[in-house]
């Protein structure tokens, strides 16, 4: 078992490889925005994520998502934890509540906890970036998803059946669009199909990028290499477009 000084010394030696983030979070369901937690098989807390997909990305038999953080009301702890040291917390099997526990089997054990902790931060950063870029398509008026889907379905039918006029308003979305921008029914349908194709391709690209980098992060075993993964992600995500 490591003693407290060894834990602190190892932690301090690794801090230079950490990502910047808000230092503390209150793990109170009422005050914390997104309390997505991941723990190990021995019920030690490893990290707190802002995005549930970050937790899901690392979930396996040794890293388990969890959504509750209960503190024994009789103890003196408040429920504010230091995010980079989330691994200090472990479930006390007697009281079924989270307590600070610095009993680590070895440096390797502690290193693994720190690695998962920082992988979660990296995944959060990547998910935030992708979410921002997707906002062109995701931040919409209520009902827009249905509008786009209905337009697509109508347009598809019009083109497949080569329908030239909509005499009985069977296709209100495509007809309405044609009237609005002063083009024919067929042109309107072709334009809607083009926009559908454009949105699909855009989303597919960002989804492929997300999956590829999630896999890279999942496989990485070296804390020092995480910053390089973020640089690679930013390069592919945006830097080749500086023309």
């Amino acid at each position: 078992m490591l003693d407290v000084a060894q834990v602190e010394e190892y932690y301090s030696s690794q801090v230079k490889y950490f990502f910047k983030r808000s230092k503390y979070a209150s793990l109170n369901m009422a005050s914390m925005r997104h309390p997505y937690l991941i723990k190990d098989e021995a019920d030690r807390l490893l990290a707190v994520a802002e995005n549930p997909m970050s937790v899901n990305a690392l979930a396996d038999i040794t890293c388990i998502p969890t959504y509750s953080f209960f503190i024994d009301p009789t103890t003196n702890y408040n429920n504010v934890i230091e995010l980079n040291k989330a691994w200090q917390w472990k479930v006390d099997l007697d009281t079924k509540s989270w307590v600070v526990d610095l009993n680590f089997k070895s440096i390797e054990h502690l290193a693994k906890c720190i690695l998962v902790n920082q992988k979660i931060v990296l995944l959060d950063l990547i998910h935030d970036t992708i979410e921002t870029y997707r906002r062109d398509f995701t931040d919409q008026l209520a009902g827009m998803d249905s509008v786009y889907m209905l337009k697509y379905l109508e347009a598809k039918e019009i083109l497949e059946q080569n329908i030239k006029t909509d005499t009985l308003l069977k296709y209100p979305m495509v007809s309405g669009y044609a009237d609005t921008v002063n083009i024919s029914l067929q042109e309107s349908a072709r334009l809607i199909m083009l926009q559908h194709e454009d949105a699909t391709a855009f989303l597919a690209e960002s989804e492929n990028l997300r999956i590829r980098f999630t896999n890279i992060i999942r496989k990485e075993t070296n804390l020092q290499k995480l910053a390089g993964i973020l640089e690679d992600f930013n390069t592919e995500n945006v830097n080749y477009s500086f023309l």
Partner: protein, 378 residues
């Protein structure tokens, strides 16, 4: 084997490769080029006045043409190019796949096709690749012409059209290099636009100061003003060797763009292609503006690039478009730009060699120029 494309961002800018960059002779000083001009350029001097740190072969058809007097008008060259492309597509049983951003260069391509080819030929032999951003860039032209006259697909699919032998992939690349440089707008951000028409010899100090400030923004305090001064004079050497008289700041930037970026814009979409093995230059891939005729026109007409305000840039192209679509509104519209979207969210190799073989390793010493102008900067 020498290379035709290099990924300048990853080689010269990326933080993770800083140590490897030290191994390229003159590489660190050359990295400043990308901070002044743009981060993604396969920079190579087509005039062979200077040598850059990586051994790049300019494709034969992209070599700088020998300067000579040339009297064809811009309109004639555009008309001929559209006719020639359509004739070639029909002759070889391919379709033209035209990248359309909604900007001036690609709008001109579509106007040239509409003006010079039959409606039937356009419907049967042309596919336009565009995005939502292209529609927003030029909505009038899109609703009045593009959706009515052309078959359209999403431009996100360009990675699969480029190199597909059933198509001749045509982009509006090289258009910018005919008329000036985007660096002009960066240079005039904090000064009157009229400064770009001042005599280059009286503006050397100003240009060096601007270049120094521009590189400093990249947090590169190790480079002094003396370094930047030497860098400036490398560029000046290219301009001084030009076969035409280049007396203003505007023409200085144009010539640097025309000589060192011409090859780059032609090859820059290639690493994104999913059909690298089947790309054939000038058979199934070309740019509308890469011909010798357009280049000779530019070299003979460098007083016709712009009038006195930024919105008059490329006025000869705008006149060509206006003659066809009569849309005054478009003439006043500022550039938005959408090509950058096509290069996002993808990974590319470090280099492509002359056989278009991709290399995913940092360039090694077989690709270095051990004698290059950037090594001289002290």
């Amino acid at each position: 084997m020498s290379i035709i494309f290099y990924n300048s961002h990853d080689i010269f800018i990326k933080h993770a490769n800083r140590e490897k960059l030290k191994e390229i002779p003159g590489g660190e000083m050359f990295s400043l080029y990308f901070k002044v001009f743009s981060q993604n350029i396969t920079a190579v001097d087509r005039t062979n006045t200077i040598t850059t740190p990586l051994d790049v072969s300019v494709l034969p058809h992209l070599q700088m043409p020998q300067f000579k007097s040339f009297t064809s008008t811009f309109e004639e060259i555009c008309d001929n190019r559209a006719q020639e492309l359509m004739f070639y597509a029909k002759k070889t049983g391919r379709k033209l796949a035209v990248m359309y951003s909604g900007g001036i260069d690609s709008t001109l391509i579509l106007c040239a096709l509409l003006k010079n080819c039959s409606e039937h030929d356009i419907k049967s032999n042309v596919v336009v690749l565009l995005s939502n951003a292209s529609i927003r860039e030029n909505p009038n032209f899109f609703y009045n012409y593009v959706i009515k006259k052309f078959n359209c697909v999403s431009s996100f699919r360009y990675t699969h059209f480029l190199g597909n032998d059933n198509y001749v992939f045509v982009s509006g690349e090289n258009g910018d290099q005919l008329f000036g440089s985007q660096v002009v707008s960066a240079f005039t951000q904090d000064r009157p636009f009229a400064d770009v028409f001042k005599n280059i010899n009286n503006m050397e100090g100003e240009l060096i100061n601007w270049m120094y400030k521009t590189t400093f923004k990249f947090n590169e305090p190790q480079y002094t003003k003396q370094h930047i001064e030497q860098l400036f004079f490398i560029f000046k050497k290219i301009v001084d060797a030009a076969p035409v008289k280049l007396d203003t700041v505007y023409k200085f930037f144009w010539w640097i763009n025309f000589t060192t970026k011409w090859h780059s814009v032609y090859v820059r979409p290639l690493p994104f292609s999913k059909n690298l093995n089947t790309i054939k230059f000038e058979e199934n891939y070309t740019t509308f503006y890469c011909t010798k005729e357009f280049q000779l026109w530019a070299m003979n007409n460098h007083d016709s690039f712009i009038k006195d305000t930024p919105d008059t840039a490329k006025y000869v192209s705008k006149d060509y478009i206006f003659k066809y679509n009569k849309d005054l509104e478009y003439l006043k519209k500022p550039k938005i730009g959408s090509l950058w979207r096509m290069f996002r969210q993808k990974n590319i190799p470090f280099t492509l060699d002359q056989n278009l073989k991709a290399n995913y390793n940092y360039p090694d010493n077989t690709m270095y120029n051990y004698s290059n102008d950037f090594m001289e900067i002290k």
